[in-house]
């Protein structure tokens, strides 16, 4: 099963530190001083509505529609995540339309001389959460979140979460009678 980063909206305070950490983690080392609105490309976005604030990012779907529709093999299933090979992207945006969560974007990207050829390869590329694969310390967003609202979820954590829900449901049956079935969603 793929791993994913997921947020607990109950803990999120909407500070967007995760966005900044994400953009920096995917930029040149000197980005902190050179980052511009054009080069600020976070792969997760904090969404704020009247009732909730939470970062949304790639769910790393196991049966990923973006991978299925990509005509060039730009989006590939890696080890436990959906990865992008930017140099193959032709900018058709099929992935953008296919993704239900709105977490993949096709953007004009500045040529990064350090890891790409300067010309003739690609100017436009699919951008999504890659779980900071090239970063030794793991996802930067999870690390910086001041309220620890972001989590790395793998099959073990998911199984534990399911267990907690089951225990909660059982407890609610005892305490709250039939109301317990629905009340857990409110936190």
């Amino acid at each position: 099963m793929n791993k994913l980063v997921i947020a607990d909206p109950g803990r999120c305070i909407g500070c967007r530190t995760c966005e900044l950490a994400c953009a920096l983690a995917h930029s040149a080392p000197d980005a902190l001083t050179t980052l511009s609105p054009a080069s600020f490309i976070p792969r997760l976005k904090v969404v704020k509505t009247a009732t909730v604030s939470t970062p949304v990012q790639c769910r790393q779907c196991d049966d990923a529609p973006c991978v299925a529709v990509c005509p060039t093999g730009t989006l590939v299933m890696g080890d436990h995540s959906v990865q992008v090979i930017p140099s193959r992207c032709i900018g058709c945006k099929s992935c953008m339309i296919a993704c239900r969560f709105g977490v993949i974007e096709v953007l004009p990207c500045e040529m990064n001389l350090s890891d790409r050829q300067p010309f003739g390869t690609t100017h436009v590329e699919a951008v999504k959460c890659d779980l900071c694969e090239s970063r030794g310390a793991g996802p930067a967003c999870v690390e910086v979140c001041p309220t620890k609202a972001l989590y790395i979820v793998d099959s073990v954590v998911l199984a534990q979460a399911a267990l907690k829900r089951r225990e909660h449901s059982a407890a609610m049956l005892v305490i709250g009678g039939s109301d317990g079935y629905m009340s857990h969603t409110g936190g």
């Binding site: 909206p9 969404v47 509505t49 299925a68 005509p71 093999g73 969560f101 709105g102």
Partner: protein
């Protein structure tokens, strides 16, 4: 594995690779205009010229993108012959497209900032690399644009130069174009795919079912996303999708920790 020499350094590379791929893997700079990793080798622009010699290769200049690696192949990517030839190729390209910003920038990197050619010739931004044509046909499966004419009158065009009925408005042609000859122009809920002086196709964009922002063309949905299960190809803009994702996010105390 195959052993080749790149600028005097020995490299082990997988069989079947091209010299261009091997050089890029070794972080050796070779310019390209008509190369794209999503597509096969084409050998149209020639700016990736290198000098090669080997047991199976007579010494001479060759396009790195179409030259396969072979045991004992010795490749020079910056020999005097390569540098000089590349300069002439850039001059020829500039003769055709003197107004292309990206071509000028690229040529300058390789020491070319003027051209002896192209006086009196017809100028446009197109370097005839064929990336748009190949992307449309091979990857999108549409072939809305194609080359027509020969020699100097060769150009990228639609059928009979008329508005294309085949184009699905994806804009991949514009995305891969190295010189900005083809552009996508979205305005007032409409999308136009434009080749500098020729309207390739024009569409009314479907609007987001939630916020009414223009999103995508009907033909694109019909053709590119037909493989998705029913109901999955929805017309919703990115922001509204994210809002929905956020709205369905569950806050269950300490569920992930």
């Amino acid at each position: 594995m195959t052993t080749i020499t790149l600028n005097g350094q020995t490299h082990e590379v997988p069989e079947g690779m091209t010299v261009l791929e091997a050089a890029r893997r070794a972080r050796i700079d070779i310019p390209t205009l008509c190369h794209h990793e999503a597509l096969g080798s084409y050998g149209a622009c020639r700016v990736c010229v290198v000098e090669a010699e080997g047991p199976a290769q007579r010494r001479g200049l060759a396009a790195a993108c179409t030259l396969p690696v072979s045991d004992g192949l010795m490749v020079m990517t910056d020999s005097p012959a390569v540098v000089q030839t590349r300069k002439v190729i850039f001059e020829l390209l500039l003769g055709r497209s003197p107004d292309s910003e990206s071509l000028r920038t690229m040529a300058k990197r390789y020491g070319v900032d003027f051209t002896r050619f192209g006086e009196g010739a017809q100028h446009d931004l197109c370097v005839r690399c064929g990336l748009c044509v190949r992307t449309c046909k091979e990857k999108i499966g549409t072939a809305a644009i194609s080359f027509a004419g020969r020699g100097q009158s060769r150009s990228v065009t639609t059928e009979f130069g008329a508005l294309s009925e085949l184009c699905i408005g994806c804009g991949s042609c514009a995305a891969v174009c190295p010189t900005g000859m083809i552009r996508v122009e979205d305005a007032a809920g409409e999308r136009a795919i434009v080749r500098q002086d020729l309207m390739i196709a024009r569409f009314a964009l479907l609007t987001c079912t939630s916020c009414r922002a223009p999103v995508v063309t009907q033909k694109f949905l019909d053709q590119r996303l037909q493989t998705l299960p029913e109901g999955q190809a929805e017309v919703l803009c990115l922001d509204c999708k994210r809002q929905r994702t956020a709205a369905t996010a569950e806050s269950f105390p300490n569920i992930w920790s």
